[in-house]
Symmetry: C2
């Protein structure tokens, strides 16, 4: 048997998964693929049966042995109380949780008198706009960072949770809880708020406006489809880290709105107003340039080759096979299309210096490549 | 000779393109592909020579005949004055512009005494984070909406600009200037501001935070890489439509920040605070659900099949060829990966009801498909 990464799992079982939604069921699937014994629990009988049926583990036996590891995958607002209950019920088990917020959970576990030597908070940086056991997959964590917060835990407990992350195909990243919470506020929680606020403006938009929507709007608002209940818990639990970033964003927005009001549709610059607008856009340039690309570089360094692709089964595949024949690896792919059209534009990002050769090769194979 | 859409161009030449950056050069390339005589002009000698060299048209002859159509592709803040100059210099030509804002340009052309019977404002909904003639492509407008504002123009003048749009492979969409400006504020200008403001928060982020960046952050901030000078002109020229939307967004943001401060890291609901947060996320759900998909449907209606793809040349192509063999057409494709990993996750969106068959077919061909 092999784990999600193609290796036998090193995690010692039985592993008890408490909360069998998207994350819990995906943990179970990954561990089962590595041959680990997984026991499933959830307050909803329907949810736990679904999780079992997709292969994430088994139901507890009447004479169930003690688990070696408990993975709490409950909603963030009940995570701490479930962790405390599991620490008490299984006094030799290591207990971890996978909630998106770590500081408030750790504080509540400490305040509740939990055994901190056996508690290791963690957070796999993976998810989906979909939820529930049927959206789970054994490779949900493949190639993703999995934050592990050592806190006051024993060395063996930390190792058990790092091993869990590796068995799930993820890369363990050691961070303090406060560092984690500040980081996810910036890279996850505030972007979620911004996407939701922009998407909310579309509720009353006319059809003419929506028909002009392009890839930019789709990209900015994609995560606005996420679940309100889950995100309410996350934002409330991490409000200490999220609010200062949202306040700074609001200050920038106020400055921008003020400058646009002073500019008032004028093309000449009224008292520096346009400088404020330009500075806001330039600050965005600087920020987006810092997001690492797939290989740790900036995505701005790729060559981009754009190809017209007929909207028929297999055409995009044929394009990428031809790309493979050219011996050029694909770093990033974006598919771009307008509403109600039978043609797409594939933007192929390749390592710098390879773009010209790829253009020649694809043109020679009959593709319509950008000039 | 055939146009960008594979048909001979119907536009009557010579067409004079004034401003040979990304848009002007792309218009020239599309018209040249259809056999239309294109004359190029730009205040920068380097830019116009580059545009000629990529094949967008020729330089004016000493005894240059009068153009039938002038396309002004200048920055938004100088568009009106260039339109007025061209209307005066070429008294029988139809003059259009491609600026992203239409109301302020039309007002300035009217205020400057331009011949409104021959002026038709327009806006092709296409672009790129890249700029300049070397980023231009003959298919930049393929399958995109191209807004045409009739204003006070003659019927023949409007027809000439609609024909230009069709020759460029675009779909003409007739809108009044004010309707256009309100629409692009919602679907383009406000999303740009939001992306820039979120990205700006990353300027001072630590490397640990940036290493946790996932596809959500990348999507929300992609357009934050856009050009500050151009966007300053656009936002200033359309401030009348943009500011009310930004104010409404700021009111929502204020309400959200206030609610999160009241929640203050608590998991229990303090006086409705969490309801405000949930309502903001739910409003985003409602808004994003209104964005039309490729075939006019909501993107939420697709089946999504997720497949693990090794990061080697041709692998993604092989996957999509196998998908073609299964006879299932690809509606949307997202490639997802974490920094510094040699594996990607391809999310294949297909029409509802086809997901299960596709999973079976791909599994049978040896692909690792989500459970």
């Amino acid at each position: 048997m092999s784990g999600a990464g193609g290796h036998p799992a090193a995690t010692r079982g039985p592993v008890r998964v408490v909360g069998t939604g998207l994350l819990g069921t995906s943990v179970g699937l990954a561990l089962r693929a590595g041959g680990v014994d997984v026991v499933l629990a959830d307050p909803s009988r329907t949810t736990v049966l679904l999780s079992r049926d997709v292969g994430a583990g088994r139901l507890p036996a009447p004479d169930e042995p003690e688990p070696a590891l408990v993975v709490v995958a409950a909603p963030p607002d009940v995570t701490a109380e479930v962790v405390l209950a599991e620490l008490a019920a299984h006094p030799r088990a290591v207990v971890t949780d996978v909630a998106s917020v770590k500081g408030t959970v750790a504080q509540a576990v400490a305040a509740g008198g939990g055994d901190l030597a056996r508690y290791v908070g963690s957070h796999p940086m993976a998810g989906s706009e979909r939820s529930g056991p049927t959206a789970a997959r054994p490779d949900l964590f493949a190639g993703r960072p999995w934050v592990v917060c050592a806190g006051g835990a024993d060395r063996d407990a930390v190792l058990a949770v790092r091993t869990l992350a590796v068995d799930a195909g993820a890369t363990p990243v050691m961070l303090e809880a406060a560092e984690h919470d500040a980081a996810v506020a910036l890279v996850s929680h505030v972007p979620q708020v911004a996407a939701s606020l922009v998407a909310a403006r579309l509720r009353d938009a006319g059809p003419a406006a929506l028909d002009l929507a392009g890839q930019g709007l789709r990209d900015v608002t994609r995560i606005a489809a996420s679940e309100p209940g889950l995100w309410t818990s996350i934002l409330a639990a991490n409000s200490g880290a999220v609010v200062p970033v949202l306040r700074a964003l609001r200050d920038d927005l106020d400055a921008l709105v003020g400058a646009l009001e002073r500019a008032g549709g004028q093309v000449a610059e009224p008292a520096g107003a346009l400088g404020t607008v330009a500075a806001a856009i330039a600050a965005g340039n600087a920020g987006v340039g810092r997001i690492p690309g797939k290989h740790g570089g900036s995505h701005a360094t790729y060559d981009v080759v754009t190809v017209l692709v007929p909207d028929r089964p297999g055409e995009l595949g044929r394009l990428l096979v031809d790309m493979g024949h050219a011996g050029v690896n694909l770093e990033e792919l974006a598919i771009d299309h307008a509403p109600r059209q039978a043609v797409g534009l594939a933007s192929l990002s390749v390592l710098p210096g390879l773009g010209a050769r790829l253009e020649d090769e694809l043109t020679a194979r009959g593709w319509r490549v950008a000039g």
